[in-house]
């Protein structure tokens, strides 16, 4: 598998650390109800098809990436810098 890092170009997946669903970007408010935190921390879909994941280019530029890919066809549909997506928040 290869991931095209927006900063470094196409690289072998061994350069990346996989974290999980990009839902991690949407951290609830600190005082949000427990059910919102439970959802954020523990409940995940397992789609056969398009999925958004967080990958860390650990052996490269150190950028966290949001990789949209298809778990059936293995197509990598898009790769974006996580801080660009989250640029409006935080």
């Amino acid at each position: 598998m290869r991931i095209t890092c927006p900063l470094c170009g196409a690289r072998d997946r061994r350069e990346f650390h996989y974290m999980g669903d990009a839902v991690y970007l949407d951290r609830p408010d600190p005082v949000a109800p427990a059910v919102a935190w439970d959802d954020y921390l523990h409940l995940r879909d397992n789609p056969a098809g398009e999925t958004r994941d967080l990958w860390f280019h650990e052996a490269g530029c150190g950028a966290w990436l949001v990789v949209t890919r298809n778990t059936v066809s293995h197509d990598v549909l898009s790769v974006a810098l996580a801080d660009g997506i989250r640029g409006g928040a935080g």
Partner: protein, 977 residues
């Protein structure tokens, strides 16, 4: 037997080799298979299950029959396919699966038991008694069955792995592949042409085809010469592409030294390649398949195309009197070519009623081979044909059941091949591997002209995809015959008809699978083991599917194929794991003091990839405990030096550094003054403690964060996550500096005295109180000093740029000596911290919370932090939690061991009564007895109570008293002093 004037081996060079200890001679250019055939050796092994005699069946990597063991000792390689082994001087090959000898194999007895050994035999027979499976049945079966064996010794040879990138990868160097590479190469693209054989040309080397008026091999050589001259083309002979993976990644195995009598000592035997290609042309050709008929597995029965290959390429006649059994035109080509070379052809048995006639040899139209005889090699076949029955004396039967396009790689990403009625075979599906297109025979085109044109077109299309336009391509002239086939998979009748030669699977086995309702292709495969041997059924799977289809009343496309998976051909584990053996598996990280520690005979222990000194033995000390106890006392009473460079260090800078650290640390950092250090814990978002360490404020917007040795990488990754993914607006940057700084703990009552003998400017308790930090100079080097303590003593950590680390360690030891001080290792460091109740990852094991550790109050109520919301959840705090406590034995000699579990005094030591467990334990020389840190349910409320510590593994049981986890100097006066 060699034929004068045929073949392209160099007969001026004679190559001696041995087979089963007998000496033979071949020629430069031979394979082991061609050389054995030239020497008249027909039987080369025994089959897997029935120990039937086996000969050479093919001339390529699809070989299902001729498996041999090459070499001796550590260099012994089993299951080498004889047609793949190039001959070299002194090559030593042995047959497999036979004892005491190939011709008199005692286990050939299995063949007589064949009626009882059919498909599913193991599952049905060895059920009872149950306990017999592991002790009796399995060992016996393993001895009787199975191919060659490894030496059992470590392989001393070198292997390598390598990476390559290209615009166009061409898989296969036959006519299609050569044309594809030529078109792409001339267009200036980066091309890799991978060919399994030592020579390029594919079937052109095995036939008498002409291309552009030249003999096929000469045309191929001309193309290779042109490609070699192109700097943008990389030719990779002896390289099998074994797998297709995501995003244009391919695996390939290059046989670098397996054909050499004396491989270069610095070169690998094999190299495992990862090739990344923007576009790929699959020009893998086609493999000839067999026809199943009774007793079709005798030595001398082989592929008709292989018979031509041995004749044309190696100048070897596969027999003196050859017969052909075919269902398509290509079988006749074998007969014609043999006749032209002066080899007798006893006849062609053609299954087609309208078989073409010949003036040169008898043709038996509508003919079937219905039986064979010959114990160690074919002697006679029985034929039933339109005109009746007859027997033919023959020592070689060339069989062609048609050709299967090599679709394997196109199906490695879970696609199924597509049935092509015209060739009665499966072809590669379009677009199943993104970026890959099949060309030539792999796509079901079986004429040379068709292959040449298709290879050129595939390259043109691939280049067009890449934005390179190729206007005119000149395709050379060549044969353009049609391919006529009437499918015949097996000849009905009595007697066993083999499909899979390697796993001894017969037509009857597949039919039995169908009758027992193992009717899907995947079930049939597993029930019968069809196609599960190293050859993966390359010459037999399609016929087996056809038999299954017939037995279940379905068509072949309805029956479908099994899943194609990498590798295409066997890949040595040694090649895949190249570089990962011994020290290559885990690189070593050495601290600046490493050499000095080793010189002092300190045993070095692993801490992740790092190596750290366990203790520093002195004369007269007989055990590690002697040294450890002395080092602990030395730190408590005088001064000790310890290299702590392995701890993770992260430099954090920026206007928002403070706000950022408030977010990642559970405790508050914003109240930390410049020039001060604070102990901190980081939580995971799920509320558990991730790591602990110190945070030093070096400037208003400049911090140095330390982590535990193990968590240096994960903490850095986590901080990047928090910054980039959760708080990207914070203006902060950080970088790991673990390797840039050498850092030493200087601990003990005399630590300041020692430092003042070293520093350019001396310090005192006023300008360097407990938890102070700042810049210092020592002998002209700019360093950093932190007054922190992991021992509970008055102590410091002194950091200098890593290149001065070794010198500083030497200097510190020199200065320590007059104070009665010296180095201390990990054992003493551990005892010192347990006495103080300080934490390591034995306690921060990923399941403990700040509450459990007694650090609940560190989670600041006044701000948000990672993990804060989850840490509040019921269940992560309260009396039901196992909380950190200290333990001391009631009897002074009582033993405490990490991993022991805690039980109430009167309770049985069983799981349901478990109250907690011991995480760290040691003998405390300071207190004179053993002490331990443990997690105990509601532990903080149980100080003073007695518990049983039970170590079921070591058989140690100790009555102990629960106490505060800080055993020594609970007020911390010594560290502050």
């Amino acid at each position: 037997m060699r034929i004068v004037g045929r073949g392209r081996v160099d007969r001026t060079i004679t190559v001696p080799f041995t087979f089963d200890g007998r000496r033979f001679w071949g020629h430069e250019g031979d394979t082991l298979a061609s050389a054995l055939m030239a020497n008249g050796v027909r039987m080369v092994g025994r089959s897997f299950k029935y120990h039937r005699p086996r000969g050479i069946f093919s001339a390529g990597s699809e070989e299902p029959s001729a498996l041999v063991t090459i070499g001796h000792g550590t260099a012994r390689t089993p299951n080498v396919r004889a047609p793949m082994q190039e001959l070299y001087e002194g090559l030593s090959a042995r047959s497999q699966n036979a004892w005491p000898s190939l011709s008199r194999d005692l286990l050939a007895l299995n063949d007589l038991l064949a009626p009882f050994l059919g498909a599913g035999f193991y599952y049905k027979t060895f059920m009872w008694p149950r306990a017999f499976w592991e002790r009796v049945y399995e060992p016996a079966i393993r001895r009787a069955a199975g191919p060659g064996a490894l030496s059992g010794q470590a392989d001393a040879a070198r292997y390598d792995k390598a990476f390559a990138h290209c615009d166009v990868l061409v898989i296969g160097g036959g006519p299609s592949g050569l044309m594809a590479a030529l078109v792409a190469g001339r267009a200036g693209s980066d091309v890799i042409l991978a060919e399994e054989d030592r020579k390029f040309g594919g079937r052109l080397l095995a036939e008498t085809e002409e291309v552009d008026g030249q003999p096929g091999p000469d045309w191929a050589a001309g193309v290779v010469a042109e490609l070699t001259a192109l700097p943008n083309v990389r030719l990779m002979p002896r390289t099998t592409v074994t797998g297709a993976y995501d995003q244009g990644t391919y695996a390939a195995l290059e046989r670098v030294g397996l054909h050499l009598a004396a491989p270069h000592p610095d070169a690998p035997l094999e190299t495992f390649w990862r090739i990344v290609a923007r576009r790929t042309v699959l020009a893998a050709g086609a493999l000839e398949r067999a026809i199943a008929f009774p007793d079709n597995d005798r030595p001398g029965i082989m592929q008709a195309g292989a018979v031509r290959a041995y004749l044309h390429r190696w100048g070897v006649a596969a027999g003196r009197n050859v017969t052909v059994f075919t269902n398509n035109d290509s079988g006749h080509r074998t007969a014609r070519d043999l006749r032209a070379a002066g080899v007798d052809v006893a006849g062609v048995v053609d299954a087609r009623p309208d078989a073409p006639d010949s003036a040169d040899y008898p043709v038996f139209a509508a003919g079937h081979v219905v039986g064979t005889s010959g114990r160690h090699g074919l002697r006679e076949i029985r034929v039933r044909h339109a005109g009746g029955q007859r027997q033919l004396a023959t020592d070689c039967l060339a069989v062609s059941g048609g050709w299967n396009p090599s679709v394997h790689l196109a199906c490695h990403m879970n696609a199924r091949p597509v049935w092509h009625e015209g060739i009665a075979g499966f072809v590669a599906p379009d677009g199943a591997v993104p970026g890959m297109a099949a060309a030539g025979a792999a796509r079901g085109l079986f004429s040379t002209a068709g292959c040449l044109a298709d290879g050129a077109e595939a390259a043109r299309a691939a280049l067009a995809d890449l934005g390179v336009t190729v206007t005119s391509v000149e395709v050379p002239r060549a044969e353009d015959g049609a391919y006529d086939i009437a499918p015949l998979w097996h000849v009905p009748g009595k007697g066993r008809a083999w499909l899979d030669y390697q796993n001894d699977v017969t037509v009857k086995d597949v039919e039995m699978a169908a009758h027992q309702n193992f009717a899907s292709a995947e079930h049939m495969k597993r029930y019968t083991t069809q196609g599960m041997a190293p050859d993966q059924g390359k010459t037999s799977n399609v016929a087996a599917l056809a038999v299954l289809a017939e037995a279940t009343g379905r068509t072949i496309p309805q029956t479908g194929t099994t899943t194609y998976r990498p590798p295409y051909t066997p890949v040595s584990i040694a090649a895949m794991g190249a570089g990962g053996r011994g020290k290559g598996f885990a690189p070593e990280r050495f601290t600046p003091s490493h050499a000095a520690c080793v010189r002092r005979d300190a045993p070095m222990v692993e801490a992740g990839l790092w190596y750290r000194p366990s203790y520093f033995p002195l004369n007269g000390e007989t055990s590690w405990r002697d040294s450890c106890d002395r080092e602990v006392r030395m730190v408590r009473e005088r001064v000790g030096i310890c290299d702590v460079s392995t701890l993770g260090k992260i430099d954090v800078q920026g206007p928002d550094a403070t706000a950022f650290l408030d977010l990642v640390y559970a405790n508050t950092i914003s109240t930390l003054r410049v020039g001060r250090v604070r102990y901190g814990i980081m939580l995971r978002e799920d509320g558990h403690v991730m790591d602990d360490g110190t945070c030093a404020r070096l400037g208003p917007h400049h911090y140095l964060v330390t982590t535990t040795t193990a968590a240096a990488g994960p903490v850095m990754r986590h901080m990047e996550f928090v910054h980039q993914c959760l708080a990207p607006r914070l203006d902060v940057r950080f970088i790991p500096v673990t390797e840039q700084w050498a850092q030493f703990a200087i601990a003990g009552p005399r630590s300041r005295d020692l430092l003042n003998a070293l520093l350019d400017t001396s310090i005192d308790g006023q300008d360097f109180p407990f938890m102070a930090c700042g810049a210092v100079g020592l002998m002209g080097v700019a360093g950093r000093l932190f007054r922190i303590s992991f021992s509970g003593e008055h102590g410091y950590e002194l950091a200098v740029p890593a290149r001065f680390g070794a010198a500083l360690f030497r200097q510190l030891l020199c200065l320590a000596e007059p104070f009665g001080g010296g180095p201390y290792g990990m054992e003493a460091l551990n005892v010192l911290r347990i006495e103080k109740g300080f934490l390591t990852h034995a306690e921060l094991d990923g399941r403990t919370t700040a509450f459990d550790l007694g650090l609940g109050r560190m989670v600041s109520p006044g701000k948000d932090c990672i993990g804060k919301a989850a840490a509040r959840r019921p269940g992560l705090c309260g009396a039901s939690r196992e909380q950190l406590v200290g333990l001391k034995p009631v009897a002074p000699e009582g033993r405490l061991t990490p991993g022991a579990h805690l039980f109430a005094e009167g309770a049985q030591a069983v799981r349901v009564n478990d109250q907690g467990h011991v995480t760290s334990a040691c003998h405390s020389p300071t207190l004179g007895h053993e002490i331990a840190l443990a997690f105990l349910k509601d532990g903080r409320a149980r100080h003073g109570r007695r518990m049983r510590s039970v170590d079921h593994l070591l058989g140690v049981e100790t009555l102990c008293e629960v106490c505060d986890p800080v055993f020594f100097d609970p007020e911390g006066a010594r560290a502050r002093g």
